[in-house]
Amino acid sequence: MEELKPSRHATPVPSIARRLVIVTIGVVFAIHTALITIWIQPANPFRDAVGQKNLYSYINNKVFPFEQSWSVFAPTPRRGGENVKIRAYYGKPGDPDTRVTEWFDITGNEDQRIKYLVNPSRFHSATRRLGGNINSTVGQFNDKQRLIIAGALYTSPRSKLADLLKQSNTKGIAGLQALSQYLDNDEMLTRYGTMYATARWGKGVKAVEFQVGHRSVPNFTKRNQENFLDVPFTYYRVGIRKAIPGNADAQAAFDGYVPKAPKTTKDGE
């Protein structure tokens, strides 16, 4: 192979003073790189030496975060699918005059949209992500907490749900973290669901209700006998939640995306 010629940038080795400037730049980048290296590796003594708090504040700085995690599909790859179904209440839940829609499978609709698409929009993962987060936290809840989240939250403020879950927490700080994560996802799902339901069934949604399902991929040894799509979902009931509507622009965005309910459908069941 022919000898490579120097580029138009080629210079002789610079003086010591100039080399010191480059060394200084090198040290800055070396420290940065070392901190990134320590951050992305599994828990290690170097991380303890630097200090978890110091490392976190550097990686997640507020100007330009270097946040990253490469434990994707590892050590245990994802092996479960999520599903979210919704129905809407037009009127106070429990009132005899209140119209309640049929259940609609949001994730199933997203599945249809992403089939044969090599570049699907990430938005089609929204309920999968929210449902997955809810499933993983509810899986850590005790029976009493599961009963609480299945209950209605219509007249009381959302803080009531937080209080009840905290009172029933039996797992200390880990339990508090799980329920904090649950509450965030519950609120996001309620906001999402309100706008989704309004776009599907029309204005006037007073409350929404969800079923969040999970199913596992059949074991590798049974891959040619059992089909993942035939595995039934196991659902957690997320109870009735008071609607949280968005502004006109936000609703317009959902109106352009959500499939409208067929006019022939009898929603008032």
Binding site: E2, L4, P6, S7, H9, A10, V13, P14, R18, R19, V21, I22, I25, G26, F29, T33, I36, T37, I40, Q41, N61, K62, P65, F66, Q68, S69, W70, S71, F73, A74, P75, T76, P77, R78, R79, G81, I114, K115, Y116, L117, V118, N119, P120, F123, A126, R128, E187, R191, V217, F220, R223, N224, G246, N247, D249, A250, Q251, A253, G256, Y257
Partner: protein
Amino acid sequence: MSQPSVASRGLDLVNEWYDRFESWLLTDKRSLYGASLARILAGCSVMGILITNFRVRNLMFGQGSVWNDIAQKGNDMYWPPRLITSHLGNTAFLFYYLLVILLAFLFVLGWHTRLVGVLMLIGHISIIERIPILGDQGDNILRVGTLLLLFLHSSEYWSLDSKRRARTKAEPMGPGPGGVLAVVKNLYNSQRVLPSWFTNGLHNVVLIALGWQLIMIYFSAGWFKAQGPLWFHGTAIYYPMQLQEYKPFPFLTDAMTHVGVMVGLSTYVAMVVQIGFGFALLHPIARRIAIFCAIMFHLSIAVFMALPWFSLSMIAFDSIFVSTSTFILFDRWIRAKLRPVADLFFDVTDPIVAKLPGRSKQPSLVSRAAD
């Protein structure tokens, strides 16, 4: 005559390695072709993500993303979304969105690369980080890699900056207002402003930082996998590939997972390539094999798991590991192949370009390369 001692020979070797490293680091810019290709592919990734999500832009990043408001509020790391995009209505956001796509396109073309690159990066973050709940690692590597790329000289090849640089001459930069004007002109014409000894050192230091970042990504990803029993037993990739979000072509996935050996081979190759990537770079042949495997690995992820933009970002930054001689061969090959098409194109466009004010007729790149 006495033989030199082992210690003396060892010191000579250290000295030789030090001189070679010093020369590599300080006397020229390295991997200019790789940096140029990384620029093009990273810009394509930004464009790809934005164009893919164009129809759902308001739901994902605009006012419709209010449903993940609580995640945005909990994520106070990013100022661009808060300052720029959070207050835009649907119409204003549409124009902003198109502007960032245009910036990414200009970045691909290498038009005022550094300035456009900075604006593109801020624009991209301001859009993408509106939806932290749907973020993924592709966003992270694209953000971090593009930041480092901005310190590299990535417009040396395949860029409009390089064409402008070839067309113009550097203005002498003296003291006083004339000097300032010359600096501005040189910046505009993509001519040298800072001394080469400084930019060479900076370019190469950042090149090492980007390279190390990629090696660590591969290593830690492989390292985490090595801890998992399913990876250990060679069945791990079967599980996520059954999920509908990672199964765009069911018949392809089913054909692959039907054969257990294919699953085992893919699982082990993925893990081994990731752990061994950094070590393989130390040997020229192993390096070529590792880069080939990494590209195939990412192409497979793109097609089988519907993650094209993450894959493209990784391939973009991996290109810094490809040697200059390989790029030169590739450059010649592609120019020869494209020559008939390019000649036809330039036959049409050259007379038009020649009539533009302040332009003299330039021979086409293809014609020049062939001369």
